[in-house]
């Protein structure tokens, strides 16, 4: 068990190092000079050169990388090229917004996926199962931003039930916060829910065919009981895997949805800074996203060990 954890930690660290190099190199390859963009169209060559020196852009790439990474490890993300203010607090600010979106959308996706996926599996080949299956297929095909635009057009512009966009911090006006949260969470969560439903369904279908379920049924358990006692835990492994992958998709999807709904989250921050050519800022955000995805995968790896005792035995 300990060995497993250590091995996975080593993999995590190695992937982090490799991805940080990749992120850095891609940023360095981007066309456009951040100093020129920061100073505007009419700035003189001399002042651009001076700013390049100030930003450390005239140093060799290797030392730029090392000083960036060194700062990152101390959680000193540096100052923005454009506004010159520290980056870390801004990211924390925006992350709080995005986390609301992502967590609520994930929860909504699970609320949809677990019951519907189970019903679809149990009613497999029955008309009701087929109808649900078709609906979930449509959900899978619709991208989150399109769902968002449709939801806004119907519920905000036409029916005027909900605000079309915007964001209010929950401590300022909780009611407005919830009203503004509904549509973005729906557009992210419905689509993810549809995807997840397909996985829950097939995981449960697989489990249904296993010997132990047949044995349980032979013991006299009903199909739902057998599933509850023996099936869910086994079905959980592929579903948790997909859930972790989906989390990455959700974070990326949030970038687009935040734009459609004018939400000041991490995604819109990222887009802004790309446009500003605030490379250090972009680099920090991308690296944090990579870190988040890798960490989630790491946690999921550890979760396997909890869910499936067989994996622990294998390493003993």
């Amino acid at each position: 068990m300990l060995l497993q954890v250590l091995r996975r930690t080593a993999t995590l660290v190695a992937s982090l190092v490799v991805s940080s190099v990749l992120v850095f190199v891609f940023m360095a390859l981007l066309p456009g000079d951040p100093a020129r963009v920061a100073l505007g169209v009419n700035a003189s060559e001399a002042s651009v050169a001076q700013l390049r020196r100030e930003f450390g852009l005239d140093e060799p790439l290797v030392s730029q990388y090392l000083s960036w990474m060194g700062g990152f490890l101390r959680f000193d993300l540096g100052n923005s090229y454009v506004s010159r203010v520290p980056i870390a607090p801004q990211i924390v600010d925006r992350l709080q917004v995005t986390l609301w979106l992502v967590v609520c959308a994930m929860v909504l996706a699970l609320v949809i996926a677990v019951p519907f996926g189970t019903v679809m599996a149990l009613r497999h080949r029955k008309p009701s199962g087929l109808v649900l299956s078709a609906i979930s297929q449509v959900g899978v095909a619709v991208p989150a931003f399109l769902a968002g635009i449709l939801l806004v057009t119907i519920f905000a512009v036409k029916l005027q039930w909900l605000p079309a966009n915007g964001w209010t911090p929950p401590n300022e006006d909780p009611a407005q916060f919830l009203r503004q949260l509904v549509l973005p969470v729906l557009s992210l969560g419905l689509v993810q829910g549809a995807v997840l439903t397909r996985y829950v369904r097939s995981a449960i279908l697989d489990v249904q065919r296993e010997d132990y379920i047949r044995t349980a049924r032979a013991k006299g358990l009903g199909s739902l009981q057998a599933l509850r006692r023996h099936g869910f835990r086994n079905a959980a492994i592929p579903v948790v895997t997909v859930l972790a992958l989906q989390l990455a998709t959700l974070l990326i999807g949030a970038v687009v949805v935040e734009r459609v709904f004018v939400i000041p989250g991490l995604g819109s921050l990222l887009l802004d800074q790309v446009a500003n050519r605030d490379l250090i800022f972009v680099q920090d955000i991308v690296m944090l996203l990579v870190l988040a995805v890798l960490l989630v995968n790491f946690v999921v790896d550890l979760l396997y060990l909890v869910i499936d005792p067989r994996l622990k035995v294998a390493t003993r």
Partner: protein, 511 residues
């Protein structure tokens, strides 16, 4: 057996936790769903929310370029000695009057005696001297160059300021109405990027990054107090989201309409009012005058004859805007309609082009990825091709890639970009090193004489320069961008023309 039970317990706990979280999630969704039936966020009659497109990256326009900062702060939080009215005339602001010495080099300003910075100190001529000197000393944006002409500024008394120029300059007084003329206090310059302090009708309240900037009415304002006690400038990157925000009453005013074809949904609707005026933004089809083929007058003339400006504006900007035929917007004192110089004439374009090398070699039209350029680029390309040009169109990401490729390296033949700075003809065509690479000694001499002459001479000479430029086909102004706003019915005082750097909020009211 035991570990399994612990495992079961753990996964049961996990499931329970998830279920709890789920029900909380769905609960909040449904309560939100039933909670809201329309309703303005504005809350009360004296607060106003204006939707705009570009959020500033910083609040410090002394070190950060870009139109968004002065749009929010100038004339609202900061004030200038002089300002420009809706017709482009220079009028008093913190200076009640001024005199110019006969040699045009010494300006003496009488200042108001009751203005106060919002941190409580009185505004005096000393602050004006400090502000003017600080532009030369500490500002880093390129616009500060307009202050280079100042040789000396001194306070004759608390309300009397004397500025001496090293040479006469009409342009200097005009530039004092822009951001470089903003009056600041020495005590507050440490926090310019986060806490601007000025003498204006509004006090900076808070900046929610990525969302909005809010201003509060200044209770101690020396001039006419604003109607709105609270104004929020809310930023939208997506034009559709901006329109939706007005349709759902999240905002009261769309400050700039980015997609003119979207005006249709507000037209003929009694709940909204559309304001249409003009701006300083010339959408320029720029030529690289420094190298072949556009260093050849015939090629430039052919291109100008090839463009059907009316049809172009109809297609790419929903027919909104002004056709001027020169680099001068209608609100400048030296405006003249020069559309008659190069009327649309495909045959003339063809015969001119046939005499040049451009008839066979393709020209590169390299446009920035901005809405107006993208929608006009295709039309320009097809109109040029009808006249026999071979055009390759490529779109460069704005700002970074376009700036380095076209603007800095001049690696282009033609481009399309809106020059939105006020009175920018000298900047765009008076400097041979500028990306237009236009080197015309006569024009440069005229521009210099216009700046140092009397105001009447300035008008005459600027008219001459604009005509000269247009005749020489140094570039082709496709159209002047319109100022388009949509407001909820009952909002009054919206400025028809957007010809200053600020979005003046003090004059707005709700009837």
């Amino acid at each position: 057996m035991k570990p399994t039970r612990i495992g079961t317990a753990a996964s049961a706990a996990l499931l329970l936790a998830l279920t709890a979280a789920c029900s909380a999630g769905s609960g909040s969704s449904s309560s939100g769903g039933t909670g809201g039936a329309g309703g303005s966020q504005g809350g009360g009659d004296t607060s106003l929310t204006v939707g705009l497109v570009a959020e500033p990256a910083s609040l410090d326009f002394t070190t950060k370029d870009g139109a968004a900062i002065p749009q929010a702060l100038l004339d609202n939080v900061y004030e200038t000695l002089v300002t420009v009215d809706q017709d482009g005339k220079i009028t008093p602001s913190l200076a009640t009057s001024w005199t110019v010495s006969p040699d045009g080099k010494t300006y003496t300003f009488e200042l108001v005696d009751n203005a106060k910075f919002t941190d409580g100190q009185a505004f005096t001529a000393k602050d004006a001297v400090y502000s003017i000197n600080r532009v030369k000393k500490d500002w880093t944006i390129s616009l500060k160059a307009a202050m280079d002409v100042v040789a000396d500024a001194k306070a004759l008394s608390d309300t009397k300021l004397q500025v001496t120029l090293s040479k006469p300059s009409n342009d200097w007084l005009y530039r004092m109405s822009t951001r470089i003329g903003a009056m600041m206090t020495e005590k507050a310059v440490a926090d310019l990027a986060t806490k601007p302090v000025g003498t204006g009708p509004f006090v900076f309240d808070q900046w929610r990054r990525g969302d909005s900037i809010s201003l509060k009415a200044n209770p101690g304002y020396w001039g006419k107090k604003p109607f709105f006690q609270q104004v929020t400038l809310k930023y939208f990157k997506d034009p559709t989201a901006l329109n939706n925000a007005l349709l759902t009453k999240t905002i009261d005013v769309i400050g700039t309409v980015q997609a003119p074809e979207s005006l249709a949904q507000f037209q003929g609707n009694d709940a909204y009012e559309i304001v249409e005026g003009t701006t300083n933004g010339e959408v320029l089809l720029s030529f690289n005058n420094g190298k072949a083929p556009f260093n050849d007058l015939k090629v430039r003339q052919a291109a100008r004859y090839a463009i059907d400006h009316k049809a172009l504006m109809d297609t790419c900007w929903a027919g909104r805007g002004t056709l001027a035929g020169s680099m001068v917007p209608p609100t400048d004192p030296w405006y003249e309609d020069l559309t008659g110089l190069y009327p649309h004439d495909v045959n003339k374009a063809k015969s001119l082009l046939a005499q040049t090398s451009a008839a066979t070699t393709p020209v590169r039209l390299r446009i920035p990825s901005l809405p107006y350029a993208v929608s006009c680029g295709q039309v320009v390309k097809s109109q040029l091709e009808q006249a026999g040009f071979k055009v390759t169109l490529d779109q460069l990401e704005f700002p970074a890639v376009w700036l380095s490729t076209v603007f800095t390296d001049a690696d282009y033949d033609m481009s399309i970009v809106a020059h939105v700075e006020p009175r920018d003809l000298p900047a765009v065509f008076g400097d041979p090193k500028y990306y237009t690479r236009y080197d015309n000694k006569q024009l440069q001499a005229d521009l210099k004489a216009a700046d140092s002459g009397s105001p009447e001479q300035q008008v005459t000479l600027m008219k001459k320069a604009a005509r000269e430029l247009s005749e020489d086909a140094a570039g082709d102004v496709l159209f002047i961008l319109p100022n388009l706003m949509v407001a909820e019915k009952g909002i009054t005082g919206l400025p028809k023309n957007a010809i200053t750097e600020s979005f003046d909020l003090a004059g707005l009211a709700r009837s």
